[in-house]
Symmetry: none
Subunit: 212 residues, 2 copies
DNA sequence: TACTGATTTAGTACCAGGTTATAATAGCTG
DNA sequence: CAGCTATTATAACCTGGTACTAAATCAGTA
């Protein structure tokens, strides 16, 4: 039984499936939270096809994907129940103070000078200022910042944030952040952070917020 | 109907449940990957009790926990774009003005609210402010910024930078940046940018911070 | 034309890890 | 004893799948 014949012909019109596979991979990579059912809508094929595709491409099911992501992050996370932060939080006292560490890598510097781009240093400080606020929603309102000296490739930035006032205005908090490399202060910022002040914003998304 | 009488009595022997709650919280915090069934083994109570406990303590089920963790990590993994200018420069007149465009994507927002993280909006403005300075080295010295309204997923931010002063101080330039979504101003910042001003700042041997 | 084989769709049974609701039981306590 | 809480049991249902079988569709080719 001469089984082969597909190989001999260049198989020009075998594209549709390949294309779909590419699209599928891309879609899932872009949004790992997508279900097969949602994918059927996007790719216009049956759910079985989606599943066969995932099987062929060795893409695990939604739950496995989320579990893998959770595991990966769990390893590197020091059990903060928190928001997203640039830099590693090494200490955090909500509504009081916080410390994060951020090492300047290649991708953070101007390649020609090895000097860190300002917004990375800012991002560390900003996300720490947001993280230290103990509230459901915290957004930066204003910031007054000073880059005291430039930070270079390989340096470790230690940012220390202090919540200065929660008084009076309930919906705003003032946070001071100082970033050091060693003993030396390299950045200083005064942030005003909007906070939800105990209000509950329900997006119908993930949480089940109400439940009583 | 006075619902409370537990309060009146010191409730000395109400401990077992409280204790279990404490243990439960701790166990789940230590290992968020644990299932209810495994918890029954550890706490020696029925699975219903575990679930009632989680209900009371507002601890979501395993899958929700993993999803939350995955979301947190997914957000932070995609921190800041690593390269050069953030946003697309659509117009640039060195030492005068510049315009860049930056679309807020999934990776720029808090997943729960769809609101962009401040440092991305800042990053666009900052990198534009640096780009507009016609010098070998340009670094942010200070910035005074205001987030006028929050920017949301899908919105296109148009940042316009104007170089306000090169006078007097040769080594500093003042740059104003306004960021708009449509007609609406969403961010405003005053940047002071250090520039090499013909002088040669020897940083790691190479010059020119940016551009191209 | 009929056969072959890949692809796609459909349908069923089953699973984990739950939620929701309802009821029964145990244990104390006034 | 009634009345209460806490616990356990039972059953129906849900999501987002896996595993398997089978049928339908299309393309090529002998």
């Amino acid at each position: 039984m001469h089984d082969y014949k597909v190989k001999e012909v260049p198989a020009i019109e075998r594209l549709p499936k390949r294309q779909r596979h590419q699209q599928l991979s891309k879609l899932i990579e872009e949004n790992p939270f997508i279900t097969d059912r949602e994918l059927t809508r996007l790719l216009k094929v049956s759910i079985q096809t989606i599943r066969l595709d995932r099987l062929e491409l060795a893409i695990p099911e939604l739950r496995e994907r989320l579990k893998l992501m959770a595991e990966r992050s769990y390893d590197s996370v020091r059990s903060l129940p928190l928001h997203e932060v640039i830099g590693d939080i090494v200490d955090l006292q909500l509504d009081r103070s916080g410390i994060s560490m951020f090492e300047i890598m290649h991708e953070h510097v101007f390649s020609r000078t090895g000097i860190a781009r300002g917004h990375h240093v800012f991002a560390q400080a900003n996300s720490l200022a947001v993280a230290v606020i103990d509230d459901e929603i915290a957004l930066t309102a204003t910031a007054d910042i000073r880059f005291i000296r430039s930070v270079k490739l390989g340096e470790k930035c230690i940012a220390k944030a202090y919540v200065r006032s929660i008084s009076g205005e309930k919906s705003k908090a003032k946070v001071e952040v100082f970033t050091y490399v060693g003993e030396e202060m390299v950045f200083q910022g005064n942030f005003v952070i909007y906070r939800s002040a105990g209000e509950h914003i329900d997006e119908g998304g993930i949480e089940r917020a109400d439940r009583h």
